[in-house]
């Protein structure tokens, strides 16, 4: 069967509609969403309504969690004072804008979703705030997939889509103490192929173009396709200005830049 996986919509309704229209052209059996429905963008309630209308299984993103709990992402998430200020402005705006209904829905979202040998998370299986990047240590990446018990881990959060195959893994473990009887010296058997597939972002791209990205995956052939969708981003820019979000967000979206820069440290997990 074919599934579509999308992530990080961030209140960008125009981008979401464009992706849904594209999916409709070659329909899939199931759509999954990896969270961050709200945050930065001008239509948080409308995006949530649309996802609910289509009954798309969704896991909770870091922004969704923040809005539910009324928290602001820890300051270590931002690499600069400027980004931190912009993040806070976006959080305050979104907090004022979301309805109680939207908040309740986001609060109920599960942290992970599973379908046979596929697992779906926002950041990583351990945290909504952890980035799984293409150049994260291959061993760390492997551990993340193994931790889910799945063969393929779908994630978002980084806003740059990729497909990563992890194979030919070998790991030797010697137990020096307590010395086993009889002594063992054998390499630990590890599974052959594990994958991490990152869906990128629908509403807040980081790959240098304002287009939305998502994934189409075939569970029989295991083929994964990165899809990029053009849409009229100027509509979103206009809405950003009209609804009183920081004007700089409109410019940054048009350049394919994230609204506020995120810290690069991939395995950093904040202890609040």
């Amino acid at each position: 069967m074919n599934i579509a996986v999308l992530s990080c919509i961030h209140g960008n309704l125009e981008a979401l509609e464009a992706v849904l229209r594209k999916i409709d052209q070659q329909p899939v059996d199931q759509i999954y969403c990896l969270g961050d429905l709200v945050g930065y963008g001008p239509y948080p309630n409308e995006v949530v309504a649309r996802i609910r209308e289509l009954d798309i299984p969704t896991c909770q993103g870091c922004w969704d969690e923040d809005i539910v709990e009324g928290l602001n992402a820890c300051e270590c998430s931002y690499p600069s004072l400027l980004a931190e200020t912009r993040g806070r402005q976006a959080h305050e705006w979104t907090n004022r804008e979301v309805t109680p209904e939207t908040r309740d829905y986001l609060a109920e979202l599960p942290l992970t979703l599973q379908q046979s040998n596929l697992c779906f998370v926002h950041g990583s299986p351990h945290s909504q705030h952890e980035y799984l990047l293409p150049d994260t240590s291959a061993f760390i990446a492997m551990e993340r997939v193994l931790a889910t018990g799945a063969d393929t881990l779908f994630c978002g959060h980084t806003h740059i889509p990729y497909v990563r195959n992890l194979e030919n893994s070998q790991l030797t473990l010697n137990i020096v103490h307590p010395a086993p009887h009889p002594p063992t010296h054998s390499p630990t058997p590890l599974p052959s192929l594990k994958r991490i597939i990152n869906a990128g972002s629908v509403g807040e791209p980081r790959h240098g173009r304002p287009n939305a990205t998502y994934i189409v995956y075939n569970t029989d052939t295991q083929q994964a396709e990165l899809r990029e969708v053009e849409y009229d981003y100027t509509q979103t820019c206009a809405a950003i200005l009209e609804k009183g979000l920081p004007a700089i967000f409109a410019w940054r979206l048009s350049k394919g830049l994230e609204y506020a820069e995120k810290a690069d440290d991939p395995t950093h997990v904040c202890e609040r």
Binding site: S80, L81, L82, A83, R86, I248, W251, R252, E261
Partner: protein, 249 residues
Amino acid sequence: MLTVVAGPCGAGKTTWILQELAQMPTPAVYATPGVGPVPIDATRVAARFPQVEIFQRQPETELLQRLAAGVPVYFELGFQLETDIAFLEGRPHRRIALVAEENRDAGWQLWADEVIRGNQSTLNLQAAQVWRAPLSGQVFDPPSLDTFWQELIQGAYGKVHRAKGIFELAEGQAFHLDFVNSLPGSAYTELNLPRWVQGRPNRFSGIEVVGQELDEGAIAATLKDCYLSDSLLTAHQATLKDSVPLEVV
């Protein structure tokens, strides 16, 4: 000897003067009429050549004294100034124009004794806006400044033809940032000044932006978001004390 250097915005006038000064064994005088409270070029020159005297609001008589004593004097004329300055009338002076091939017209050829190749300028003088702001006492969070600068030169706050500034950073250094839209990227130069690691700096820093349809309010507001607050600055300087040996001036 009095040398007057003129040319379009961003042509490279200050850069040429710095090259001249580098070859000069004797003290010299540098003056930039008309920049008011934002003497970015003068600060850049003074940091590089501490022995050069910067003239800003000193009386004319002092300037005449230097000339009489044989001290070389360099006048840099801002792009928006007319080249006929009262002081120069009747006084012998050398006229240098920094102009790109594409910008050369009869006017420059007529005025200058020597025309030297400069950076291209596409600025429409009629529509040009010049925005200057002193930033003295403000200390910047470097990654914030970087983001702001990239946004500025890529047109987030209006069409920018030229941007330059001197900024004090959290680690105590003063940096000169320079952008001309006819050249790729920006030049970042650390000024040869002692690191300021205690309290707010009381030396000059500031920014000048030349362009069209500039959103001055947004530029000013974004700059403010890049400042370190008193408490952040104090905390940061405390950590600097532990790690960096203070430079002796």
